[in-house]
Symmetry: C2
Subunit: 235 residues, 2 copies
Amino acid sequence: MKMPLAKSEKPASTRDRILDTAEEVFMALGYEGASMRLITGDAGVNLAAVNYHFGGKEALFHAVLRRRLDGLNQERLRVLDELEIKANGAPLKASQIVDAFFGTLLRMANKHGKGGQTFLRLIGRTQTEPGEFIRTVLAEEFADVLERYKQALFRALPDVPKEEIVWRFHFMLGATSYAIAGTDTLRLVTDWETGEPDNDIEQLLPRLMSFLLGGLRAPLPEPSRKTPPQRRKKS
Amino acid sequence: MKMPLAKSEKPASTRDRILDTAEEVFMALGYEGASMRLITGDAGVNLAAVNYHFGGKEALFHAVLRRRLDGLNQERLRVLDELEIKANGAPLKASQIVDAFFGTLLRMANKHGKGGQTFLRLIGRTQTEPGEFIRTVLAEEFADVLERYKQALFRALPDVPKEEIVWRFHFMLGATSYAIAGTDTLRLVTDWETGEPDNDIEQLLPRLMSFLLGGLRAPLPEPSRKTPPQRRKKS
DNA sequence: GGAAAAATAAAACGAACGTTTGAATGATAA
DNA sequence: TTATCATTCAAACGTTCGTTTTATTTTTCC
């Protein structure tokens, strides 16, 4: 029988076991580095199961990303909606927007426990993965959310040129992605005799927030050139 | 004959052709994604040449990184020395330090023309590569420089707790690495009807600088907890 | 010149990859 | 029960991987 399963039971269907394991393995080894034999082996399922349930390695990766990104981005939109309703037409504060975007990410990751943090590091990694289709997946997944938040920031910071805001959004994504993906280089910078990065998220969030907001609201670079370079003809 | 070759000639020894090509291919496909057959093929040399001249794929990657990283980090140390001599014992300004570290990176990359920018994106990529040895290489290569700059920042910002500076250094690395590695996500954020990212570096530097300094000097996060969590026992 | 060393070339190695196949097994419904 | 469907499984497919081997060519040095 295909019982819906009361909430906390865990026979863990083959499909779900693959997803969970794949998430971890992709995170640890990257897309290219993770082999289907390793994933299916760790998950305790047959090698062919991935192709049966998902259609292939790419599709599996796609599914892994989607499973959590959907929830995350829905939540991001929900929080933004809520803020805008409360504001009743007035522009939001930049700090609210930044928190709604990046704070939601970190808090959701923390909520799901180990799995959430694994995923957090995965998408940090994924941002710089070279594969063509990976970037496509991310682009599709993020397009709506980014647009909404971009617009919100435009309204929140009317004095900052839109182009500059876009750049700074990009920088914020980088700082966050990096802060999440690897404690690698940080471990190199500091002496680390304090805790493991596992529950560092609670420490990380306020620190990251201060940094991001400081950068976002920084004084503009001196406009060294009047014209925003010469506009190039569209190819 | 093994003539030293007047400066601008370019028979390009097998070794150098491999290095140049490998740099591009690694950048485009990542370490795992780049195959020796592709590299040697593009370089127009025999497949076995890499193993002959470098010893293997890992050693080749190592050599690619070292070739430019050595110069970069030497220059970074030189610039910092120069600043500190001029300051005559007084602490430097944070903006000077940030420019010496990140500005030097971007300027050097710009100097070497196409090759430099390729390399810039490569190290941006490399920061999140999963392979074990890759992180080792980067750690060795950067250790000295990071330590020097860290100390300089400590002196420049005596009011900011050292721990906080380390974190923010990490965030700055992330923002920069990301800004460099992929215009990928940015291309997704903006509408891009302006120029290609090729010569964007001149635009990028002042923008990035403002952002980094804004973040670095941002007001501290409220110390929500007095004790810096409880110190965990060292395992 | 010719011997020694360095460099290039072609071919093959074994291992690992993602995917496919076809039979065995389990559950579902008439 | 029997027919039907979905799932699991072991085995093999054909490629591609990094590396090694063997032979040939080129350079270096006496």
